[in-house]
């Protein structure tokens, strides 16, 4: 499990308008590129001081590559990060206000407490 890295991906994409569009258009390609090129960059350090050990578990990579926010919830990604990014990705496709957010809630209806642990 690498909940930290899942969160780092969601956080890194969400704060960059170009990456939001790239991830919407090409999720698998963006995840592959990001894991190869960006996952080990420490956000507050020069790029040459990067980490050496961060990689996704297979189910994490697949969840991100398929825009599967239900699976991300199950894997313990921080739900605020997932929600914020996925609103940016998909709210525009729903004509009604909150249409995407309500569908998101419906797709998680099989969950009751306790929810997956989000502690990193």
């Amino acid at each position: 499990m690498s909940k930290y890295l899942l969160n780092k991906f969601l956080f890194s994409i969400d704060r960059d308008p170009a990456l939001v569009e790239r991830y919407r258009a090409d999720p698998r390609g963006t995840v592959t590129w990001w894991e190869t090129e960006r996952a080990n960059i420490v956000l507050n350090l020069p790029e040459m001081e990067r980490s050496t050990w961060l990689r996704f578990a297979d189910d994490e990579r697949e969840a991100l590559a398929t825009h599967n926010y239900v699976k991300l919830f199950e894997l313990g990604a921080h739900p605020f990060l997932t929600l914020t990014l996925f609103i940016a990705l998909f709210e525009r496709d729903y004509p009604e206000p909150l249409g995407f957010q309500l569908e998101y809630a419906r797709k998680l209806q099989h969950w009751s407490l306790p929810y997956p642990d989000i502690t990193t």
Binding site: R15, P17, L81, Q101, L113
Partner: protein, 286 residues
């Protein structure tokens, strides 16, 4: 000694700005009542005539991140740029620049450290909607210098609830002892029951109206013991998965002390309940 003229504890709702500034034909039907409530609440700060605002909030994974996460942080900078691209994108929030009050920041950091709180600090802090929402609702002219105080309510492990209360008590004591005759208000924002990114999000009310009723009673009555007995880090998951934002209300209860609020109001909205509380430690006309 400084004059603590008002203590405000409220929810922060990033949709308010858009709801209140949209043209009438595109406003949601609840906007007018919401604006009335906020306008009345704003007056509780205006009448206190503050000169400095200490603003308690929580960064929503904007500048503070898991690689280096502080629990309690005080900004010490001459200015604070505010709001982020993703807040503009999702909520339509404007970019704002707020003045800082470095002298009070430095005082709170030094005295807080000496009183046993190992506070983090930041000399370049971009604040987010947890600070700007109450600016927009209670001081929209954004003309007063601020001291931002950030807490971690998002990324476990969190401090225990009593630690937020204790920090609130300390903030009040330190400000009341500050050797300066300024008029200071402390404004903190948190949440009642709230679900974000879970199955109970964006319902017709907050996810747990019963929790909200109990929480509003604790706050309005200054019932710190009741709140501490009624919540724990584990239990706060139950009313909604983002309900740890209530810890900022508990901090503000520590600031206010065991006294009834001089002003208490709520507004039941979709997704979450809004709540507005004000205390005047030395009376409303001090």
């Amino acid at each position: 000694m400084a004059n603590l003229v008002a203590v405000l504890a409220t929810t922060h709702h990033p949709f308010f700005y858009r709801a209140s500034t949209s043209p009438p034909e595109s406003r949601p039907d609840f906007a007018d009542e919401w604006v009335r409530k906020v306008t009345a609440y704003r007056e509780t700060l205006t009448r206190a005539n503050p000169e400095i605002l200490v603003m308690v909030g929580s960064d929503h994974f904007h500048q503070l991140w898991y690689d280096n996460m502080p629990q309690f942080l005080i900004g010490k900078a001459p200015f604070y740029d505010a709001n982020y691209y993703n807040e503009q994108r999702e909520f339509g929030l404007p970019r704002i620049v707020l003045k800082g009050h470095e002298e009070l920041s430095a005082y709170l950091l030094r005295q807080g450290l000496d009183a046993g709180f190992d506070l983090a600090f930041s000399n370049e802090l971009r604040v987010d909607h947890s600070i700007t929402c109450p600016i927009i609702t209670t001081r929209p002219q954004a003309d007063l210098p601020i001291v931002p105080v950030y807490t971690n309510i998002f990324a476990p492990p969190l401090p225990q609830p009593q630690r937020y209360v204790a920090f609130g008590r300390l903030l009040r004591r330190l400000i009341e002892q500050w050797p300066n005759d300024a008029r200071v208000a402390i404004i903190g924002t948190g949440h009642l029951s709230l679900e974000l990114g879970g199955p109970r999000q964006f319902g017709p009310h907050g996810p747990d109206p019963d929790f909200d009723r109990r929480a509003v009673n604790w706050i309005a009555n200054g019932d710190i013991a009741g709140a501490l007995a009624g919540v724990s880090l584990d239990s706060l998951w139950e009313p909604g998965n983002a309900t740890h934002g209530f810890l900022d209300f508990m901090l503000m209860m520590g600031v206010a002390g065991e006294v009834k609020a001089d002003y208490a109001d709520t507004l039941d909205l979709f997704h979450t309940m809004e709540a507005y509380f004000t205390w005047y430690p030395k009376g409303a006309d001090a």
